[in-house]
């Protein structure tokens, strides 16, 4: 399983990388390579040129920017996993990251790489959609931003224009009594999820929901937000039966994926259960009790 031949470039900055990308429509950017290289080994991906952005230091960062935490595209997943700012300010991401692959893949895999790859089961994509993150990219010497919800448009398909390179992502920070939950089901821990669910809840002093975000991943072509459930559950105490009823309604008509690992029925049904668990975890955490699991 040797890759087809290609040229290799290691540009010094992102604009140089974009220029290389724009010059050859069969060129591809390589960051962590944890997904791209296996595809190349199987000759399912055959770029003529690899543009290596791993060592562009300016693309690796975790910092506060206004009311968001900005994470650079080439930031390694393992750094995000250990980062104190992420733990306090984007706790949902901190919960999600340990589910990605294995220690050895998170050592190389990047936040941007996962987002740009847009696997339906990707944990970072689910988190980005759940939190209404903003993705930033560079094209033709200019920076652009696009909301997560508009970024993912199909299975492994994004709205990134040809010649553009993802430069970073901004996750909004929620203040107040915030709790998170993240669950996924897979054949083995750390395999691609069959279904995943993410929830973030902010409770008011009355213990009712001020704000709630619920996302489901791996069940459809790209992660989805459960807007109707969020609306129904805002202002409530998140009673489990009511939560499940809302989730059931929100997921009733989705066209879930079906493959050798799980049927569409399974995905649709389990999405409800995992989302309910995620919401329950988020509620408990926001209430100050931690759910041990």
């Amino acid at each position: 399983m040797k890759a087809a031949p290609f040229e290799y470039s290691r540009p010094a900055d992102i604009d140089e990388a974009c220029a290389l990308l724009a010059a050859d429509e069969s060129a591809r950017v390589i960051a962590g390579g944890q997904t791209l290289v296996p595809m190349m080994a199987m000759r399912l991906a055959r770029p003529t040129r690899l543009i290596d952005i791993n060592r562009i230091a300016a693309l690796s960062y975790i910092r506060t920017e206004g009311d968001s935490v900005a994470v650079g595209a080439t930031t390694r997943q393992c750094l995000v996993e250990r980062d104190a700012l992420i733990a306090t300010s984007v706790p949902l991401l901190a919960r999600a990251i340990p589910n990605i692959g294995h220690v050895a893949t998170r050592a190389r895999g990047t936040v941007g790489g996962s987002l740009a790859n847009a696997d339906p089961a990707a944990e970072i994509a689910l988190t980005a959609i759940t939190l209404d993150a903003t993705l930033e990219y560079r094209a033709d010497g200019a920076s652009e931003a696009i909301p997560a919800r508009e970024f993912f448009i199909g299975p492994m398909i994004t709205a990134l224009p040809a010649g553009a390179i993802l430069s970073g992502v901004r996750f909004p920070i929620w203040q107040g009594k915030v709790g998170t939950g993240f669950h996924e089901i897979n054949a083995r821990r750390s395999d691609f999820a069959f279904v995943s669910a993410a929830a973030q809840v902010e409770l008011g002093d009355d213990g009712k929901v001020k704000r709630i975000a619920i996302g489901v991943g791996a069940a459809t072509d790209f992660p989805m937000r459960l807007d109707s459930a969020e609306q129904q559950l805002t202002g409530t105490a998140l009673d489990d039966a009511a939560v499940r009823a809302s989730l059931r309604e929100a997921l009733a008509d989705i066209e879930a994926l079906s493959d050798l690992h799980a049927s569409a029925d399974y995905r649709r049904r389990v999405a409800i259960d995992l989302a309910a668990r995620a919401v329950a975890d988020a509620r408990l955490q926001a209430q100050g009790k931690t759910h041990a699991h």
Binding site: M1, P5, V37, P38, R55, C78, H102, V103, A104, A107
Partner: protein, 164 residues
């Protein structure tokens, strides 16, 4: 392309195609055959090396990308001819292998774990090696080897009174 790699503390100048993986370069051009190819698509972990001290899959990196980092293979953690590191010796003590094919990768993964966590719990050991597939042992004796190595390394070079 001519590249320079820092492997096990020595610099090597090699001529590679961009598509040559770090794994193939280590094995075929540097003769370091202790790192093994099991799947070439990043699942089995048999190709694990340390990259600036961090365990990574060498089949998922092209050799050209590895310039500028320190690579450690199983040959690099072996103290000297005929000698075994504490981790290697612990694996022999518990028989944490059978065919030996996944073993160098397991040992390097153990090194990386113990460098950051000298007292891992059983669960932490299992999590650390969960990206390395073994088809022979069922993992029990591997987990025991790493726990034994941790225990021995914690107890090393400390006066006996302090251990009470």
């Amino acid at each position: 392309m001519r590249i320079e790699l820092d492997v096990n503390g020595s610099k090597h100048s090699v001529d590679v195609e961009p598509r040559t993986t770090l794994l193939d370069c280590l094995r075929d051009q540097l003769g370091l055959t202790g790192t093994h190819a099991g799947c070439e698509h990043g699942v089995c972990g048999a190709c694990t090396v340390l990259f600036d001290g961090v365990a990574v899959r060498s089949c998922l990196m092209f050799a050209v990308q590895a310039q500028g980092s320190q690579i450690t293979t199983i040959e690099g953690v072996t103290p000297g001819p005929g000698e075994l590191s504490p981790v290697q010796d612990a694996f022999c003590e518990t028989h944490g292998m059978q065919c030996g094919f996944c073993t160098p990768a397991m040992i390097l993964t153990a090194h990386a774990l113990l460098a950051n966590n000298p007292s891992p719990t059983r669960e932490e050991i299992v999590e650390a090696i969960s990206g390395n597939i073994c088809r022979c042992t069922g993992y029990a004796q591997i987990v025991e080897a790493i726990a034994l190595a941790a225990e021995r390394m914690r107890g090393a070079n400390r006066p006996s009174e302090l251990r009470k």
